[in-house]
Symmetry: C2
Subunit: 306 residues, 2 copies
């Protein structure tokens, strides 16, 4: 459906940032509309480095209220105000975020020239939280120490396109055009049947992206993310530390790859690496042994789905 569908990695690390690896933040670009997913400290600087125009971001999705996923919000909100933003900014998150942010906004952003609108949702069940002409966004309940959700971004199927030659030759009425777009065949004035397939082009393929962090590996998400084109699944630990992963409600690279395989996704992107690991190639090797089409997320990467 879209001209562009890509994810830019602003932060790939877990809670402790290093000098190169930032806490979680990503931007999904759907036909030049930008959706910010999580907002760790430093997100605004990373947006600048990746030349993403602040004004194009109208919707921010926060997976859960651990600091490494939301400490960058207040700085970004403040900066958007200094830049003279007028459009409402929507933040989708646990309802506690509004309670925590409001006193800060009232103190630090008294003269904000735009509205920040907090949207909350049920964390226990998948829910449609956003819908426009082209895109739907659903929550994906995850299993972490505090209420946490992932987000599923699904393009809506477009309409069939009617071939120009047909329109030119038969000059169908508007009513006929709508019925052809719905998939019906066409009858000429002479009563001749023309099969729908012969006079239409299929709509462009719809793309989908699932973002799942932080979480233990959860079989319950498999149906929700079945067959997505790209899955981001956290891989905080290596398999050698799987007890620690379980204890802290995180996943290993192997477990992330297992979920990708069971959900038959197109591609797996992993991240949220614990700072204890220096050599990230170990994550890639571990995941690839289960699910070949895996990629490490790194700051500045743009993963295009086509």
């Amino acid at each position: 459906m879209s001209k562009s569908f890509s994810v830019t990695i602003l932060g790939s690390n877990s809670a402790l940032p290093t000098s190169e690896r930032y806490p979680t933040a990503q931007v999904l670009n759907v036909s030049e509309r930008f959706f910010l997913i999580d907002c760790g400290e430093g997100t605004q600087v990373q947006l600048r480095r990746n030349r993403i125009r602040f004004s194009k971001i109208n919707h921010i999705f926060i997976s859960h209220l651990h600091g490494d996923h939301c400490f960058g919000l207040i700085g970004l909100i403040s900066t958007l105000g200094l830049l003279g933003r007028k459009n409402d900014l929507y933040i989708y998150a646990h309802p506690d975020l509004e309670k925590i942010m409001l006193p800060q906004l009232q103190y630090f952003c008294k003269e904000l020239p735009y509205r920040v609108v907090f949207k909350s949702f049920d964390h226990a069940n998948s829910e449609l939280i956003y819908s426009d002409k082209h895109l739907e966004i659903y929550t994906i309940p995850l299993v972490h120490r505090i209420p946490t959700v992932g987000f599923l971004f699904k393009e809506k199927a477009g309409e069939k396109k009617i071939k120009k030659e047909f329109v030119f030759k038969y000059q169908p009425s508007i009513k006929e055009i709508l019925s052809i777009k719905r998939g019906e065949d066409y009858y000429t004035k002479e009563g001749e049947l023309i099969a729908n397939n012969d006079i239409t082009l299929d709509p462009p393929k719809v793309m989908s992206y699932a973002f799942c962090t932080d979480t233990r590996p959860s079989k319950k998400i498999i149906d929700l993310i079945k067959g997505v084109d790209l899955l981001y699944h956290e891989a905080t630990f290596l398999n050698e530390d799987k007890k620690l992963a379980h204890k802290t409600y995180h996943s290993t690279a192997q477990q992330a790859a297992g979920i990708a395989k069971k959900a038959e996704v197109g591609k797996l992107l992993i991240g949220h690496y614990s700072t204890r690991y220096r050599d990230l190639s170990l994550f890639l090797d571990e995941a690839k042994s289960i699910f070949t089409n895996t990629q490490l997320s790194k700051e500045g990467d743009v993963i295009t789905i086509s």
Copy 2:
């Protein structure tokens, strides 16, 4: 008095960070004790990049409660907790900071293994807010849109040292040693006077640093910062924008240099540049035309005073 006395610039910019210029944060190193001054977003990453060990920071000084001077606190406090810090952390700031931070600490840092101790002070008058064996820190009331102070770091004068040859030859009593250190002359058993200057070495020169941001140029600070070795004074604007500087309660490079000149400081360091300017050499040229020994602050700079 000290083996080292240096300032590391973590952030040199004003409110809108760029991809290279961070909001305000500096570290003063006084003989390997590190004092953090202001804490804009990204300070913890900048500390890592400059290889300053987090555990060496026990005292943080916040000039005022605009976000570009304190949005990095929550991330830094949280990270210190994840690193297992045990020592109390002291934060010197306007009393409102504690009110704003406490709900965040209670929510995001429930299991913090150390105490955060907030210290506040009178913003209208200069006050001694910290004192140890080697160092005193005073506030410097500034003129900004909200209550704002600078900080004056002054080493305490050390004692005179008694020359070894003298001690070896005359074997003075402890009482005599103390009186010599106070500057008194010595009388041998034969009643011969030995002048204090002949048997003592002066203590090392004491160093001083004054940090002044954000502020209109203020004559009232001149007596407080008179003769400091190094003055950091904000220069948000160039002289061509001095009306805007006045309106927003900031200074121009020319005004910063004028303060440095009147206060007869050793060296001037400028920063807090508005993002509107790309070429910072214009700030340097403007300041140097008034006060020659001026330096631009830039991320990663270490300014050593000796």
